[in-house]
Symmetry: C2
Subunit: 351 residues, 2 copies
Amino acid sequence: MSSEETSSDGSTRSPAGVVRLRDVALRAGCSVATASRVLNGNNKVGKAERERVLAAATQLGYVPNSSARALRSQSTRLVGAIIPTLDHAIYAKMVDGLQEQLSALGMSLIINTSEYDLEREKTQARILVGRGVESIVLVGTEHDPDTTRYLRDAGVRQIYTYTCVVDGGDAAVGFDNSAAGRMIANYLRDLNHERIAMIAGVTKGNDRARLRRDGFLEGLEASGLSAQDVFVIEAPYKIENGIHAMQSLMQTYPRPTAVFCGSDILAAGAVKYCNSHGIRIPGDVSIVGFDDLEIAELVDPSLTTVHVPAKQMGEHAARMLSKTPSEKSGHDVHELQTRLIVRESTGPAPA
Amino acid sequence: MSSEETSSDGSTRSPAGVVRLRDVALRAGCSVATASRVLNGNNKVGKAERERVLAAATQLGYVPNSSARALRSQSTRLVGAIIPTLDHAIYAKMVDGLQEQLSALGMSLIINTSEYDLEREKTQARILVGRGVESIVLVGTEHDPDTTRYLRDAGVRQIYTYTCVVDGGDAAVGFDNSAAGRMIANYLRDLNHERIAMIAGVTKGNDRARLRRDGFLEGLEASGLSAQDVFVIEAPYKIENGIHAMQSLMQTYPRPTAVFCGSDILAAGAVKYCNSHGIRIPGDVSIVGFDDLEIAELVDPSLTTVHVPAKQMGEHAARMLSKTPSEKSGHDVHELQTRLIVRESTGPAPA
DNA sequence: CTGTTAGCGCATTCAC
DNA sequence: GTGAATGCGCTAACAG
């Protein structure tokens, strides 16, 4: 049995009605090679021939088979991204920007989620390599050494995001988490807070959370406060965790007068706890978030937080990817600026 | 020049360090055909041979080249999704669930965004077909006829989400937007509200927004209220739009005592407006949202809203995709249940 | 400028 | 059961 059918107009088509390059060439009266050249913008083709090919392609609605193209040319224009989860606006925004730019640059994006698990990340990386991605966008600098090595061996470019540290990767676009932490430390100290606590994200396998915390503690030390006295609770980025962590903190003695949260999500939970327990913000306690998500403006009082340009980060990563690595000599780091957004949730330490 | 290198152990590898099936076969001491059979679960292979192949594959870290596999087998195990934007939790959650299940089922996901533009959606669909996706997940039932026809001609399955209406598609997983609208109408009427308004999403090109509105108006009519008297404002799902729309509504006379918002985002804006203008919720006005996002619980007062099982929707879509269409006779619709979540933002109409 | 030729890596038919 | 041979659709080298 033949896998082809001969339709009434004499052309030969695949069963699914998919138009192949051969069909275009047939209609244009040239060889597939010529048709291929035209469709790939190769200049060395006669004007008349070129026009006929273009016309045929349009009329037939030709769409190149990217599997074949990829197999042959070793170029897929495919990029992969492995992020912790899409169910967190800070990552969804980044991916949104990444996708948008990539699409404009003629590349496609395959996404996978790791659920903050470096093991899972490794598995997903292998899958993406199998899919033929030429680059891979990862979150943060900390990864399983196997992952990094594997990707390097496979010739896949690694772009780290939300960080400025390239380490084993090829490029990074993000911001200085440690400096952001220090900035908050200074801000709270300038408001005369002395009893300060932090609700951090889980630092295991998460360098962003760790650097934020460390930078914060460093900043406090530098201002004459002992980091020993700073109570730090770690919790996954969920509202309930913010609530419970704040509850724990409010039961310590002496109570902190300021709490820095590693994410607006945690901060929103903290605010919720205070509101429902008669703890005034910022009268009794000041709360600082991180990320500047929509919720920062919606909670009452609105959150003082650190703005993270997530979408721009994704867009910039896409642009980095569109450049061939050779254009860039060695490691390529692009630092974006975070900035403190002062709203209603912070104030001077109570007298 | 050869494109291969002979490494010290005598095996032949591609320059990029990628392991091919040939390498596995070589190490296992069999032909590529046998290796292929083993790796594809073909039964007709001797036990000893099978074990050796499996071992070799593991040791070498073999990952099949999916371009080659796709080209040969005409099966890519690739699915595409076109959603309005990732910068809206309701879609990000769905994609999160979709991706997770797809990954577990050995399929990969390419995402594209349309920004609520049906023209853009058409373009993205062509790109995805070129990428070889076997199915495509779309949001809603309303699409450019060209898109629908094109996908059908290309043999690509269309799964619609957030809706129960298949129309030109092959399957749908979602909920009854119209029924949800009616449910809210009944709920507000039971609370004795008579002056009722709505802040809807943009209905052009968005059947979900339109059905929600129409169902709501139908429900009000059925309860004896004239839809003529119901003021409806349309606005994109942005907080500021919720603020401005609420401002407009509060300047009408007589003021509505209840406002149904087509999204929690709009509702959150509405709440924010009221809070900053001394309008009591629900004392002066009741507000109902839609989606049940995290913000619904964070705003003060917390939002009465309609719960939409976005993540489950994505998960279910993935499962539908894993079944071959032939297993399902014709159109396949899966309806998920929405439910009313009553919180603090609603109460009886003021006397 | 254009056509002919030769694979990319893999699954699969056909012999054995 | 197993291996050799074939070609999926396309691009790139090589002739002409």
